[in-house]
Amino acid sequence: MNILEDFKNLWVYVEAVDGKAKSVGLELLNPGRRLADINKEKLIAVVIGDNVQSIANTAIAYGADEVILVEGSEYKEYSTDGYVNVLDKLVEKYKPSTLLIGATNNGRDVAPRLACRIKTGLTADCTGLDIDDESGNVAWTRPAFGGNLMATILCPNTRPQIGTVRPGVFKKIEPDFSREIKILRERINTPKEGIRTKLIECIKETAGEVVNLDEAEIIVSGGRGLGKAENFSLIRELAKVLGATVGSSRAAVDAGWISHIHQVGQTGKTVQPKIYVACGISGALQHLAGMNSSDTIIAINKDEDAPIFNVANYGIVGDLFEILPVLIEEIEKVKKLKII
């Protein structure tokens, strides 16, 4: 058992991808600041990669007091073995009290492996972060049972307390690029034979199309009501005028109209955009679990009893094939007005 008092400071792991910070890492510096201040700790960002000094600077601009930077050619691409090795060595040396990790696929890959190596507690996919009044521990709040139940979890006896936190829950602060940059450089090697997986190829979904539902501010999703694959063109058109990412229900994926990477819901992605437009989606619980925390939900469905209307802020009962073209046209008009 480790001695709790030896562990200080709140760390945020800022994930680097293709030379840029994942949004969720910068988002977490915001609640990270609040929690660190309550416990009078420093807020420290951790950045791992190859040539990622600029990400360290960005983390300072978004609120970190200091950055621990680990660079090396072996960290150019993410690998479980390499990144867990780095985080484990850093934790051993600096002893942070808390570690926040974005709940991206790579974040959810590295965190349990690290927690198990350290033998500490890990709470997955949190949507709420607070400090427990009585104990000063982080109170991690997370959904379970497909979003039907929320649980608040504590990790009272081991350190660091670790959690992965869902993208899009917390807002980034306004960056201040004039802040003083404090970077601690650490050199940690992982021998080549210590990395047992190798990235052979990266396959982008469709040429020119970005499918990043996790970071999308607006999502337009289509479901069974579209009737056939070709009709997704209407969804894409609406998405285009809104600057949105295309999502889908499980039914549309199962029907083979669109690939799984677009799927929102329990067996797909959990999303939390500012605007979620559900077109021809009835709103099975497994879909609602993936999107009902969106800021504004707009539903279009011909069945007035469809459960999607229970979570919708705005809804239209009607034929989406008639409604969507009008919507597209009107939104284009509104956009033009705004430019003028």
């Binding site: 991206t104 507690g121 997986t197 067996t267 007035e304 409604i323």
Partner: protein, 265 residues
Amino acid sequence: MNILVCVKQVPDTTEIKIDPITNTLIRAGVPSIVNPFDAYALELAVRIKETNGGIITVLAMGPEQAKSALKECLSVGADKAILVSDRVFGGSDTLATSYILSTTIKAIESKTEKFDLILCGKQAIDGDTGQVGPEIAEHFGYAQVTYAEDITVDGENLRVKRENEDHHEIIETQLPAVITVIKTAYEPRYATIKSKMASNKVQIPTMTSIDLDIDLERTGLKGSPTKVKKTFVPQIKKSGIIIKGKTSSESALELISLLSDASII
């Protein structure tokens, strides 16, 4: 290839309803199913076996009734099934659960042979943590790949197609490895009447803490570093503005004006 698939029996969370008066989950009458992601993992294992040969063992931790989930796995391609079950394991979090499962796997290996590949679903649909798979990998010190959507055998190694946020990856991994599986293109096969009847007759062995070389301090509630402080049912908002009984263009125009008034667009 000697493959182990870890499965969990879970309540079908899509069938769970909220009691509107007590505001709690109604669990009674909710069917128990094989965790859907574990079913995809098993289907991948069966496909690997069909092309490369091998043996598939399924392992579940849970109460006695979890044997029905294991029987279901036997009816769709698993060769052997084992349940690990003990009251002292109750209340285990993911770290404790992964320790119990790893210890059990080692006990199984000591009687037969080592597993080349351990598959898990990416997460269970009740806990939704996705942590047990990577934690098992750590207990063994094996290579791991998460979010796999396809696996092919490539000589001594595996090629895994992995889903990431906005792209797919092809990852080569050494064996032994732990791989966690998402929903794949391969829908789990159905049991036949014959395979169902055959699996129903199987006596599934149960291992308890007595059969394991296990430190009970690392299991159950006391072996779990995370503690549940409270649970609550989230409030689902229900006061939206629904436009109905109008023509399509009237509806669309009304929606635009509502969104515009609320500064949403």
